[in-house]
Amino acid sequence: MKITDETIDHLSHLARLEFNGDQKERIKTDLTKIIDFVDQLSSVNTDGVEPLIFMTETENVLRDDVDVVTISQTEALKNAPVHDTDYFKIPTVLKK
């Protein structure tokens, strides 16, 4: 399968990543190779096979519906790169 610049642009936007110049060429080559490699999947006959989605047979493992505070606001902001006393901060969205 041929991976084009447009495919890379589309996928990198979905993944919120950026690839420029050499990096873009590299990811294009790598993805082409890897997709060719994973195409070997099609050689397995899976007619009538249900997709395997859940790896365990346990079902509906639920806890009681009681609210608990697991992380305080101070803790939640502790690792934020930019924050004030109450909020996570992001760069200005609307310019004056």
């Binding site: 993944a15 990811i27 397995v44 365990t56 493992v61 790169p81 992001i90 200005t92």
Partner: protein, 472 residues
């Protein structure tokens, strides 16, 4: 040097303190710094914990792991300590809580000595994808230690701690165990809580131990195992006794996968060692049968389609806003996400996020993602069928011994094929262990792998102990 918990217990009986055992390891870590196994040593909290355990020992209130010193792979949370998954995107991140598996070890009075280098976000087979430098194999420092839990394997191999924790998504405990001559165990999917593990591929990831004896591996697994309200995939029954106790009157039926042994690229010495072990088991009265497994070439592709899809979704949380690396070159929200992620993630992680995004994208979802889930069921069914007719499967852990640093970095696919024999257990969810039963003429160790039935940790570990004593 303490080789096992039994040796530590003997030392404690002779008056050694946990504090002095911890100091011994701290000194050893410092001497072996150049191996780059530890990203950070928790000297202060380890010594404080050691003193607490010594007090408990005096009062006869100590837990089952008093004296054991453990290193954590750098993707397991330990409250008030840093964790980074060997990634720049989490540099400086401090855990707000402790992973359940780690919490349970601490509750039994283990000392946690530091966090161990690994491939970034557990993606890799050589520890060369770490943002903080590669790890050297103590058997030959020109060689990789394997990955992704490379630091965890080396820490045990070089005597830097009694045991360590790793995680195994496609072979990341067993492959480095093979390369470093240690025991590495991946329990059944659903046996050990992943709460506090920085997820890679949630339907594959398992936490497991590295140690020098099967007994230590069994004890740690037994303590970590069992239901936890924070991981709903777990088997809802209490943990059993996993301590090895092989019934020597028992005659086993063991399978070996012909396609693995006959595959190209397997080192001839590893192949002949497998046959030697098969003959030994036969001579001990067990039945060993060759079985077909016609999906060898499709396993790694299935693994990559499914794990990258899950990773691309799991890694959406690394946004440069709530925690972790934040690009200062960005304008507005979307640009903050894109720049922080592009500057923070390493090359292999971005490559896998892109593949995962591709297989989940409109127009390709059914052909890749759904198809992968169907092939996974075919592989699981075939594995179940083999293990319905047999007690265990034995196979090599890795096709070769440790390779040279830099040898496989150019082509991602040759690196991916490192996992060819280990990935089956992750696709099917079975428990599997790598045992250091091979010594190559090139001077390097290699592992022999045994796989058991779902949730038969007790049986598999007993068989492992039996193999270790009879096939040395």
């Amino acid at each position: 040097m303490y080789h096992s918990f039994d040796e530590i217990k003997a030392a404690l009986d002779h008056g050694t303190s946990v504090e002095s055992i911890t100091k011994h390891y701290l000194k050893r870590i410092d001497e072996k710094k150049h191996l780059n196994a530890f990203l950070e040593v928790f000297a202060d909290s380890a010594l404080a914990q050691a003193k607490r355990v010594d007090e408990k020992l005096k009062n006869n209130t100590a837990g089952r792991l008093a004296g054991v010193v453990i290193g954590l792979k750098d993707n397991l949370a330990y409250k008030d300590h840093k964790v980074s998954a060997s990634s720049k995107i989490l540099e400086g991140f401090v855990s707000l809580y402790t992973a359940t598996a780690v919490e349970r070890l601490i509750a039994e009075d283990a000392v946690i000595i530091g966090r161990l280098n690994c491939d970034e976000f557990a993606m890799g087979s050589s520890n060369e994808n770490s943002a903080f430098g590669n790890v050297l194999n103590p058997h030959n420092e020109k060689m990789v230690p394997g990955g992704s839990s490379g630091g965890s394997a080396v820490a045990v191999a070089a005597g830097l701690c009694t045991a360590s924790l790793g995680t195994d998504t496609g072979g990341s405990i067993r492959q480095p165990a093979s390369f470093t001559g240690t025991i590495g165990f991946k329990p059944t999917y659903g046996r050990v809580s992943r709460y506090g593990l920085l997820a890679y591929a949630s339907s594959f990831d398992q936490i497991g131990p590295f140690a020098n004896t099967v007994k230590d591996v069994a004890l740690l697994t037994e303590i970590m195992a069992g239901k936890d309200e924070f991981d709903s995939t777990l088997l809802q029954e209490d943990s059993k006794n996993f301590l090895p106790a092989f019934d020597t009157t028992r005659k086993l039926k063991i399978a070996y996968i012909k396609d693995c042994i006959e595959s190209e690229g397997i080192d001839p010495e590893i192949r002949s060692r497998i046959f030697e072990i098969i003959e030994k088991l036969r001579s001990l009265g067990h039945t060993v049968n060759a079985v077909d497994f016609p999906y060898l070439n499709q396993m790694i592709p299935t693994y990559y389609v499914l794990t990258t899809a899950e990773a691309s979704s799991n890694y959406a949380r690394y946004d440069g806003v709530h925690y972790g690396y934040h690009s200062s070159n960005a304008e507005g929200v979307e640009d903050t996400y894109k720049k922080s992620r592009s500057e923070g993630f390493g090359e292999e992680v971005k490559r896998r996020i892109m593949l995962g995004t591709f297989v989940l994208s409109h127009g390709y979802y059914d052909a890749y993602y759904t198809k992968g889930q169907k092939v996974r069921r075919v592989i699981q069914n075939k594995t179940k069928e083999i293990l319905t007719n047999h007690d265990f499967i034995i196979l090599p852990t890795t096709p070769t011994t440790a390779f040279e640093i830099g040898a496989n970095v150019a082509d991602p696919i040759t690196m991916y094929l490192q996992d060819i024999f280990t990935v089956q257990a992750n696709l099917s969810g079975n428990p599997a262990i790598s045992l250091p039963l091979g010594n190559h003429s090139n001077g390097l160790p290699f592992g022999i792998q045994a796989m058991g039935k779902h949730f038969d940790e007790a049986g598999l570990l007993s068989f492992s102990d039996y193999l270790m004593s009879n096939c040395k």
